[in-house]
Symmetry: D3
Subunit: 276 residues, 6 copies
Amino acid sequence: MQFEIERIIRTALEEDIGLGDMTTEVTVAPDSVVRAELVAKEDFILAGIGVAAKVFTVLDADVKFEKIFDDGKSVRKGEVIAWLKGPAAVLLSGERVALNLLQRMSGIATLTARYVEAVKGTAATIVDTRKTVPGLRALDKFAVRQGGGRNHRIGLFDGVLIKENHSAAAGSITAAIAGAKKKLPHTLKIEVETRSLEEVEEALEAGADIIMLDNMTLYDMRKGVDLIAGRALVEASGGVNLERVREIAETGVDIISVGELTHSVKAADISMLFVS
Amino acid sequence: MQFEIERIIRTALEEDIGLGDMTTEVTVAPDSVVRAELVAKEDFILAGIGVAAKVFTVLDADVKFEKIFDDGKSVRKGEVIAWLKGPAAVLLSGERVALNLLQRMSGIATLTARYVEAVKGTAATIVDTRKTVPGLRALDKFAVRQGGGRNHRIGLFDGVLIKENHSAAAGSITAAIAGAKKKLPHTLKIEVETRSLEEVEEALEAGADIIMLDNMTLYDMRKGVDLIAGRALVEASGGVNLERVREIAETGVDIISVGELTHSVKAADISMLFVS
Amino acid sequence: MQFEIERIIRTALEEDIGLGDMTTEVTVAPDSVVRAELVAKEDFILAGIGVAAKVFTVLDADVKFEKIFDDGKSVRKGEVIAWLKGPAAVLLSGERVALNLLQRMSGIATLTARYVEAVKGTAATIVDTRKTVPGLRALDKFAVRQGGGRNHRIGLFDGVLIKENHSAAAGSITAAIAGAKKKLPHTLKIEVETRSLEEVEEALEAGADIIMLDNMTLYDMRKGVDLIAGRALVEASGGVNLERVREIAETGVDIISVGELTHSVKAADISMLFVS
Amino acid sequence: MQFEIERIIRTALEEDIGLGDMTTEVTVAPDSVVRAELVAKEDFILAGIGVAAKVFTVLDADVKFEKIFDDGKSVRKGEVIAWLKGPAAVLLSGERVALNLLQRMSGIATLTARYVEAVKGTAATIVDTRKTVPGLRALDKFAVRQGGGRNHRIGLFDGVLIKENHSAAAGSITAAIAGAKKKLPHTLKIEVETRSLEEVEEALEAGADIIMLDNMTLYDMRKGVDLIAGRALVEASGGVNLERVREIAETGVDIISVGELTHSVKAADISMLFVS
Amino acid sequence: MQFEIERIIRTALEEDIGLGDMTTEVTVAPDSVVRAELVAKEDFILAGIGVAAKVFTVLDADVKFEKIFDDGKSVRKGEVIAWLKGPAAVLLSGERVALNLLQRMSGIATLTARYVEAVKGTAATIVDTRKTVPGLRALDKFAVRQGGGRNHRIGLFDGVLIKENHSAAAGSITAAIAGAKKKLPHTLKIEVETRSLEEVEEALEAGADIIMLDNMTLYDMRKGVDLIAGRALVEASGGVNLERVREIAETGVDIISVGELTHSVKAADISMLFVS
Amino acid sequence: MQFEIERIIRTALEEDIGLGDMTTEVTVAPDSVVRAELVAKEDFILAGIGVAAKVFTVLDADVKFEKIFDDGKSVRKGEVIAWLKGPAAVLLSGERVALNLLQRMSGIATLTARYVEAVKGTAATIVDTRKTVPGLRALDKFAVRQGGGRNHRIGLFDGVLIKENHSAAAGSITAAIAGAKKKLPHTLKIEVETRSLEEVEEALEAGADIIMLDNMTLYDMRKGVDLIAGRALVEASGGVNLERVREIAETGVDIISVGELTHSVKAADISMLFVS
C-alpha cells in the first residue's frame, strides 16, 4: 500500500502547495525550527497517524514526528496525539494536508466503531462498501479497519458480486453463478444479491458462496438466515443506519455492509499547535 | 479544469475497476445495450452532472448521456436527473464511480445552499476553505459554487493568508505584511488573520487588503467591522455552523468561511436504475 | 483492463519509437497509404489480435484493422490473421511492437492449449501463476484464457495463498488460517500450501477453502485428494511439465498451476507483409 | 538507465502487490526480520542481480542484499547467488517480482552465451534485435551484454535500418540511402537490408555503412562478404538458430543478429530460500 | 516548488540521458571519483545554483556540491561559482543538463538586473510576464526574482487580467469587472488592460485594482497616472525595451512588465572544468 | 515524436491554465465562437505551426486551424500565418502557450537560416548541439531542421562523442576509441573531440568516424582538414558565431556545430488577433 499512500500524499501536496506556499515563503526564515503538537478537539478513534507523519517527511525527510497514540486507539478531547519538530516552513506548508487526511480517516474510524459497538454480542461483522471518496479508497478502507470493521472487496477486480442487473443480463441467477464458477479465478468466492426468498433459494442451489439480502425486511432476513442455514455466508445490505443495525444483526446475518461509513463522513476535530 | 477532472476520473476508475470488472465480464454480453436513469432519492441541489457524464464517456466515448437538470438546480426526491444509454457492461462498470462523485458534489452544494439561505438578506458571502478531500479540491470547490457559495483561495500558491504563526515568525503583523507587499506578485490581495481588535488595528495600518476575524465573539466582530469601516474586506472564520451563521452575518462582515462545507459532507442519495 | 492495455501499448511504443522512426521519416512519404497482412508462419493458437490492432490505432486512429481470426482460434501456417490499411509510415513504425505483443501472447495461448489438451477428459483445470513478465501480467493472463486455461489470482492483493513461510511466521498453518479468516475480506477464499499429508489434514481442519499440494509425489497427491474428499478445492503445484501433467490430473486434483505457461514462452512466428 | 530500471521495478511491484500483500499482512509480524538466499536450481549465466537487489530496496531501503556472483558470471546448480536480510514481510512481498526479473534476464544471458560460444574463433559478433518484451527492452538488452553479446540499435530512434519496404517507398535502395545521408544526424551509420547480391552491390555503391544479408543462403552470404570486401560492415539476419549459427559465422560476416535471444526465453530456475 | 523542480530535472535528465550515456559507460571506470568546478566565462548575475546542484544529486545522492556564490549575486568572468566532487561518470552525465538550466536562469537574472538598474531611483517595479519557456515557468520566474524583479501572476489560474477581448466578450470593461468581482475569489485583485484614457476612466470607476496601460505613448501614460491618482496600481506594458524603460518608469507608473526577460534569453556563459 | 509533442503541450497547458482561466471563465460566454488570425509582426522563418495548432485541438478537438504557411517557409511582417475558429474561451486560454511555442521555434529556425545562408556555397553543414532548453529538445531540434540545419545526436544515448575527459579517463584517445568500438552498437559512428593536430592524428589512426576540431584556430582547422583527407568526417566546434562561421566553413570542414542556435534564442514576434 506504500506506493498508493505516496501517490495520495503527493497529489494532495501538489494540489495544495502548487508552485509554493507564498505566505510562508515571505514570512518565515528557512532555518527557523519549531515544535508542534497535534491535539484532539473532541473524542474520537484515531486513524491515519502514519499517513499524517508521512505528509511531513515527504516534504522534508528530516522532520521528526513522534506519535503518542496508535491507529485504532480512542483519543479524548484535549489529548496530544503526536508531536513533531522541524522547519517552521515545512510544518506550516504541510499542516492542512496532514490534517485533512487525519481528520477524515479518524472520522471514518469513529463512525465505524459506533456501528461495531452497536452490534456487539451478535455474530455480525460490520464491513464497508465501494462508496468511498474517489482516489482515497485505500485510506478509507484502512480507516474502517482501525474502527474495528472489516473490508468488503476493494473494487470490481478482486471480488464477484452478482447484482440484479448482472443476473438479468445472464438470464438468471443460476446462469450468472454458473458463468462465474466456470470462468473466474477459483480463488474468489461468488456473492449474489437477492431480493426475495425465492432468489435466496435459487442462489443457494446454484452454489453461491455469499448471499446478500438486499433491502429486505427484518422478517425476511430472519427467514433467509434460516433458509441458508450456514451453507453460505449471509450479508445484509441496504438502508442500514445506526438505529437499525442492531436489529439487523440480531436476525443472524454474518455480515452487514454500511455505505455511510465512507460516503458521509464527519471529520474528527484536530488542530496543530505550535509550542515553544 | 478539464485535465484535472480527467485525472480525477481516471484515478477513480483505475481504483475501482483495476484489471477488470470481473462480475460484469462473465455475466453481461459485450453487445448488450441498455438505458438507465439517475434518480434522486431525496431532495438536494445538484452538482457534478457533467463529471458523472464524463465518467461514462471516458470508459466509452459512445455512451449517450442526457442531463435533465443543470448543476445548481434544486432536485426533488423521485425526479430523474439524467438518462443514459450504452453498453450494459460500461454502465455497470462506471456506475459506482459516477455516483460517488455526483453524490459527494451534490452533498456539498446542498449544504452550501443551506448556509447561503441562512444569511440571505445580509451583505455576507459564504466561502469555502482548504479543508477539502485530498485530490478532489477542484471538484469540492466547484460544488460550493453550484450551491451559491464563492471560493476562497484554491491553495497556498494563489493567495496570501498571514496566520498567527506567520506573523510570529516575521516578528509582527506589520512586518509580515510589509514582506508580502514587497515580494509577492502585485496581483494578490493580502489577508491577515487577527485575534483581537488590537491586531485588527495593526493589520489595517499595515495595509492589509482583507482582515480575518478569527474565532471572535459576535461583539468583537461588530467592533472589528466598525473599526475597519470599509478600508479592508472583513472575513469571519472559526466555529461557524448553521445555527450561528446568521448572527455572524449580521455583524456586518463581508465574508464567512465555512470548513464544514467540504470536510463533513453527507452524500446526496442518488441511484442509477436500468429501464427497459 | 482498457487503461492497462493502453499503458502497455504506450510504454512499448515510446520505448521503440522514442523521438521518431528515423528510417521511415526519411524514406516514406507521409501520404503514402498501403495495405498489409499479418501472416502465420507456423501453427498456433491466436491471442492478442485486439491488442495488435490497438497498437496501430493508438498511433493513428484512422488505420483500418480487420481481424480474420478471433482470439482463441487455431491458426494454420500460411493463413492470414488480419489485414490492415493505413499510412505506410504508421504501419512500419508500429509493426515491431504489434508483433512483439501478438507473438508472445499467441505463444502463451498455444502452450496453454497443449496443457489443456493433455488433461482432457480429467476433472483438472489448468491455471497460470504469478510468474509472468513484469508489466505484462494482464496480457499474459488474458492469453492463458485464450488458450483454454483459467487464471489463478492476479497478484498479492486479490487472493490469499498461505505459503510455508507464512505459516511459519504465524506459528502454524492453523494460526495462519485463523488470522486470515478473521481479518481479510470475506469475499476471498483462503488457500494454503501444504507439503505433507499431515499439513493437508491441518489445513482442512482449520477451514482452508483451497489446499495446494506442493511438489508432492503422485502417490501423495492421490492420498491428499482422498483425504480432502471434496471439502476443499485441491491444487497441484510444482514441477509440472507437459510430460507429467496428465498423470497429475489423473490423481483427481481440481486445479493444476503451471509456471511455464508464462515464464518460458516461445514466441509464435508471425510476419507482417505489405501487399500491393 | 537508472530511471528506466526504477520505472520497470515500480510498475512490476504495483502490478503484483497493488493495495497490499494480503496473505503476508495477516500472517507475518511487521518487525520479524529474516535472512534468505537466492539459490540456483540449474546452471546458467547470471544477469540482473543488481535489478533483483533494487526490487527489495525500493520496497524498503534498509534491506541488506549481498551478491555473491556478479552479472555475467557462470553459476552452477545449487550455488547461492546472493543473500539478503530484512523484514520477512518485505522479502515475501518482493520475492516474486525479483525472481521474475532475475530469471528472465539470466535466461537471456544464458542463451546468448551459447550463441557466443558457438561462433567462438570466428570474426562474427552476436547481437540482439528489437524483438524484446514490450516495456523491458533496457533489461533484455542489458542481459544480452552479460551473456557476451552486443546490442543492435535500441529502437527506431537511434539507428537507421533501411528495410525492403523503405527502399520500395523511396523508389530504390540508392534513393533511400541518399535521403538518409542528407537528412539524418551525421553521427549514425546507415544500414541497409539486402535480399540479393544485386542489392548488395547497389547498397555498397550508394555508400551504406552496414549491409544486412537477409535470409540469404550460406553460398550467397559468402559471395556477399567477398563482394563487400571490408568496405562496409556485413550483418547476417533471418532464420538464425543454434544449429546454423556457426556455419553463418564461417561465411565471414561481421555481425549475426538473433531474435530468439529475447523473444523466446526460457527462465533460469532460481529460488529464494529462507534460512534460519 | 520542490516537486516542480524535481519534475523539471527528471524530465531533462531523461531527455538527455535516456537509456544511458554511451560514451561515458565505455570510457569511464564506475569508481573513478573526480573534482570539478563551475566557472564563469563572462560577467553575470547568478540564478539556479541550487537547481544545478540538484541535477547531480538526483543522479547520485552522494555527489558533493558546494556553492561559492548564492543566487542573485554578481559573478565576474573567471570566478569559480561552485565546486563539486563525485563519480566522474555522474559528473559527465549530468554536466549538460545542469549547465543548460544554470545558463538560462543566469541569463534571465542578468537581463532582469539590467532593467532594474535602468529604472533605479524611480518608483517603478520591473515584473515578468507569461511569455516563458513552456515547462520552465517556475524556474524562469524564480530567475527574474534573483535579478531583482518581481513576478506577475504565475498563470491564468492565480490572477485576473481582463484584456480587450474579455471586455468585448463581456460587453464592456464595466461588465467584465462586475462579473469578476461577483464570481471570483475575494483574494484576487482585478487587473484590466486599457488602451485609452477613456478606458482608464471606465476601469477606475468600475473598481479595478490594477490598471494596465497597454502600448500607450509616454504622454498618455503620464495622463493615465495622473487620472488614476493612486486609486489603483498602474502597470505599463507593451513595447518595453532597455532603451525606453527609463522613460516609461519616469511617467510614474508602479509596474512595468517586460516579456523579453523570459522570451528572448541569452544564456550566460558557464563551463564545468575537471580539476586534479 | 507525437507522444513527446503531446507531453510538452499538456505540461505547458497545465502550467499556464492550472485549475482554470479565471478571467475567461467570468467574462466569456461558453458558446461564443470567434475567428482569429496568427499574424507576423516581423520577418522570420516559420517553425512550429503544427505544434501551435495542436495546442488548441488538445483543448478542444473541434477548433478549426488552417495554416497558410508551412514550417520552413519565410514569412514577412504583416502576413497572416494561420487562421483559426472556435470557442472564444478556448482561443483565449490557449493563446499564450501556442505563441510561446511558435515564437521560440520560429526564432530558432530564423537564426539557423542565417547561419545556413552564411555558409552557402561551401561544403559545410550547420548542426545543433545539446544546449537546448530542458524539456523542449525535440522541438528545438525540429526547429533547427526547419531553418535548414541538421541535427547532431539527440542525447547521450544515441551517439558517441568522446570528449577530453572521456579520453583522459580511458587513458588515451586510442584506448577510448577501442573501448567504444568493442562495446557499443555497431550502428553508431564514433566521434572524438580533438584539441591539437597530434590528437587529430591519434584519433584518425584509432579509427574515429568523426573528428571534432574543438576551439581550433582557422589555421589549425585547415591543417586538420588536410590531415584527415576524407578519411573521417570533420566537425568544427566552439566559439562559432555569425561573424566567424563563413571563415570556418571555408577551411573545408564538413560540419559546424552551433550552440547559439538553441541556447540564446530571440523569440519571433507573432500575435493572435481576433477578427470579426
